[in-house]
């Protein structure tokens, strides 16, 4: 058995030796380099697109919206985003034209020599102001979606009303490999697209619709991180390189520079969350009223589903007899926001955890005690009417407390700062996270996995990509253990839409749990088919008999079927919002420098209910990496926009992500409460690490220096300011 052990990752040696090929490492013969001409206005009519006559255009191809072969739409959820802006631009950095040239330098110079004239239109940057404003960005009221859930019975007992407003800012995914894509013409007049991406079939659908034909295959290159940033954005980039390859008849590559990637690509939605609770004198939640706004940016992307997840998580892991939850995601003239690990849940739970601390403060109850009194218990019903089975809230709390009992080893190295006054603080926060798609998402997708026996090996065919989390290792482990063979004999094929079935996108903490579960069922189907023909026996003896009977290719395809007992009403948002939930508890030990407001992370303990740790090392790696990303969101990462909504700090020198020296020592406890619907009991774990840490940091800062912070990020300047208010 390989499940539960931690074999070295399949792609490890290739990556460690520098042999793994990422998109920008490919250089096909005849390659041209593409570059993008972007809007420098937030909202404007495009009056003209002209080539600077002083520039030598002899080896340059230029493409604009009028050259599109099909509809000018980036196919995703709503048909509102153009592939190239046509007549109007709705955000700064919006693509308007594309160029291709023999070198990267020539392409960038040519892009700068395309001159655009505009007539400015009024622009909106504040979602609260944009909602219902006369200036129209989307529809009649600039509202992408409004969602309202009411459930339960209102209270008639004596209670305290406690209210608060909480805010979160933009966050950049900051995959270390910038967006990169190559399109190569095929002999049949179609194209092969190869690039950095999470979801090959998103790209496949978007490009085929633009082309108006199906002569296309999309291949994932080794991908240098995604975190949601390579969920939907690559569809647009793929359309761009295909347009240039079509215009030139040659392979074209576009790799963004870091600055362009930061300015132009999607970020985490900023949010404003108002919470009002009625609480009993003993601290029991009686009613929760939430009003949440998100800034979607200029186009819809995935905003409505981000909003859903935010609203479905805003109550946190706490029971409450009455919920009244409303969320609105609004269009503004900033670059579109999109998928990012956690997908709305981190913003919502930041607010709820800070609100729990506010309740604790106002009622004079210890914050941990308050959580104990309110955590979900077996059979409790959520805001959608879903009765919880085996909720892991208490288990993760106990596991985290046990792990945090060991003494904290404080960091000693602080280059250049020897005599600082540092004050210690500890904070605790909790979260839940729905695993897999919201509601009936899986029923719509019906993801497929195929297995093919090739010689003595078994190939796993899926569109589920490895973006670092370990899919190339986990799927072979699941299939091998189900077949009863060594995992060395099972491998994932390349994720090429010309070959693999659509197993759905690599998102929503669904890959190991949902697609991994489909791998398990496919392996069972394979064994069942052999047994039906050849009687009992192990996989190898059955395979021998299959071969002896000269039965040809042995291949099975399995489709994910949603459990019939799962009921969801997308109109009322009532029913089983998720097949299961993960649970987490985070305990942060930090120090605050009272002169600078800087936070020094010493140790972070996490306890996470993972269902089953398929590979403990990979699971820990997801949790530690996600937790550090959340610590960056908490205290370091701030996107500063200029008056046009363009990111000003568009470099790694001024958009700060944590280094090895900033990171704490992690203590990572894995709690296993099995989920019967997941392979070997596994739950999704990719996103939950993002949910709880920021609130634990805020509580620890409050304990250390008394500063109460309800907005993210808690930069040193804001910590200092909050200390002075105190």
């Amino acid at each position: 058995m390989s499940i539960g052990t931690s074999p070295p990752r399949r792609d490890g040696l290739e990556k460690l030796s520098g042999r793994a090929l990422y998109a920008d490492d490919f250089r096909p013969d005849g390659l041209l380099y593409g570059a993008t001409v972007r809007s420098d206005r937030a909202h404007a009519k495009i009056l003209s697109i002209e080539r600077d006559p002083a520039f030598d255009w002899s080896d340059v191809t230029v493409v604009t919206a009028k050259d599109l072969p099909g509809p000018n739409i980036v196919t995703l959820m709503t048909d509102d985003q153009p592939i190239l802006a046509d007549g109007i631009t709705r955000h700064v950095t919006e693509p308007i034209a594309l160029v291709a040239a023999p070198t990267r330098e020539r392409a960038l110079a040519a892009a700068n020599a395309v001159k655009i004239t505009y007539e400015d239109l009024p622009s909106l940057f504040d979602p609260l102001l944009a909602e219902g404003h006369d200036v129209r960005i989307y529809g009649d009221d600039n509202v992408f979606k409004r969602l309202h859930i009411q459930h339960g019975v209102r209270t008639d007992t004596t209670s305290h009303l406690i209210r608060g407003r909480y805010r979160t800012g933009l966050q950049e995914q900051l995959y270390i490999e910038p967006q990169s894509m190559i399109a190569s013409p095929r002999a049949d007049g179609g194209f092969t697209v190869r690039g950095s991406m999470q979801c090959p079939y998103y790209v496949d659908r978007a490009v085929k619709r633009m082309l108006g034909h199906d002569r296309l295959n999309v291949v994932q290159a080794v991908t240098g991180g995604g975190f949601g940033g390579k969920e939907e954005y690559p569809s647009m980039l793929a359309c761009h390189v295909v347009l240039l390859a079509q215009a030139t008849g040659r392979p074209v590559k576009i790799t963004y520079g870091r600055g362009e990637d930061l300015r132009a690509t999607t970020k985490r939605h900023p949010a404003i969350i108002d919470l009002a609770t009625l609480v009993s004198p003993e601290g029991e939640l009686l009613e929760l009223h939430a009003r949440l706004w998100m800034d979607g940016g200029a186009y819809h992307t995935l905003s409505t589903v981000v909003l859903s997840r935010a609203i479905l998580h805003v109550g946190g892991p706490y029971r409450c007899p009455f919920f009244d939850l409303e969320g609105t995601v609004v269009a503004t003239n900033t670059p579109p926001n999109g998928a990012f690990r956690g997908f709305g849940a981190p913003q919502a739970q930041w607010a709820m955890e800070r609100h729990m601390d506010r309740i604790a403060r106002e009622l004079g109850i210890d914050p941990l005690e308050l959580r104990w009194r309110n955590l979900y218990r077996e059979g409790d019903v959520t805001a959608t009417g879903q009765a919880l089975q085996d909720p892991g809230a208490f288990a993760v709390l106990r596991a985290a407390e046990a792990a945090a009992a060991a003494p904290v080893v404080r960091k000693t190295v602080r280059p250049g700062v020897e005599n600082a006054e540092l004050r210690e603080g500890r904070g605790i926060a909790m979260a839940w996270h729905g695993c897999g798609f919201t509601g009936n998402g899986e029923a719509k997708i019906r993801g497929k996995v195929a297995l093919e026996v090739r010689g003595s090996e078994v190939a796993v065919l899926s569109s589920s990509t490895d973006i670092g989390q370990g899919t190339e290792t986990i799927f072979p482990m699941i299939v091998a253990d189900t077949l009863g063979i060594s995992m060395d004999r099972v491998f994932n094929t390349e994720h090429d839409t010309g070959i693999v079935p659509d197993s759905g996108p690599t998102v929503a903490s669904r890959t190991a749990m949902v697609v991994g579960g489909t791998c398990e069922k496919a392996a069972q189907q394979l064994l069942g088919r052999l047994r039906k023909e050849h009687g009992e026996g192990d996989f190898d003896s059955l395979l021998q008999r299959w071969r002896a009977a000269d039965r040809g290719l042995l291949r099975v395809e399995e489709t994910y079927e949603v459990d019939a007992s799962v009921v969801w009403d997308p109109e009322t948002y009532q029913g089983d919002a998720y097949p299961t939930f993960g649970w987490s508890c985070v305990i942060v030990d930090l120090r605050v420098d009272v002169d600078t407001g800087e936070v020094i992370y010493d140790r972070v303990v996490t306890a996470t209910d993972v269902g089953k740790a398929l590979s403990p090392v990979l699971a820990e790696g997801q949790i530690e990496g996600g937790t550090l990303q959340a610590l960056g969101w908490a205290t370091a990462e701030e996107v500063v926009l200029d008056a046009r909504g363009c990111m000003r700090n568009d470099r790694l020198t001024n958009y700060i992500i944590p280094t090895a020296l900033d990171a704490p020592e992690f203590v990572t406890a894995l709690v296993e409460i099995p989920f019967a619907g997941g392979p070997f009991g596994a739950k999704g774990i990719g996103e939950i690490p993002m949910d709880a840490p920021a609130a634990a940091v805020a509580q620890a800062i409050e304990r250390a220096v008394g500063a109460r912070l309800d907005s993210l990020p808690m930069t040193p300047e804001r910590v200092l300011a909050a200390m002075e208010i105190r």
Binding site: S6, P8, R9, D11, G12, L13, E14, K15, L16, S17, G18, R19, A20, Y22, D24, D25, R27, Q173, L174, Y175, I176, E177, P178, V222, T223, G224, G225, G226, F227, G257, R258, K411, T412, V413, P415, I467, G468, Q469, G470, V617, L618, E620, G621, E624, G625, G626, T627, L628, Q629, R651, L652, T653, I657, T659, A660, L661, A663, E665, F666, T668
Partner: protein, 153 residues
Amino acid sequence: MNVRFRCNGRAVEVDVPPMSRLLDVLREELRLTGSKEGCGEGECGACTVRIDGEAVMSCLVPVCQVDGASIVTIEGLGASVVHPVQTAMLQHGGAQCGICTPGLCMSAAALLERNPHPSREEARVALAGNLCRCTGYQKVVDAVCASLAPEGS
């Protein structure tokens, strides 16, 4: 301009503009694509190589400066025998998406030669110029501290 240097033990000569970035020369001229570009301004460390033993970010080095130098890239780190830091990274789960991994390995190898038994904090200081967004660095530090530097390297 002709620039001569040793790269992974081999003598090489390239004819490129003198201010070409070493990273571009490695990737485009020598087709050594293991060194990656994450930022182009010396912040992320994904392009780290060793020049005469020092771990250096190759996106900041004009190629004229390495004339006569000896360079080791990730392709040369474990060319004949896998370097102990690569083995340890594999065992401890120090690589995830892998884009920062070659640079991390080069910095770690330089550290281990100076200091074969680094403390966790010493490892963190040595790796602070290599950004990783996947791992939280815990397993990278585990791996570096578990690596034994090869004798005499």
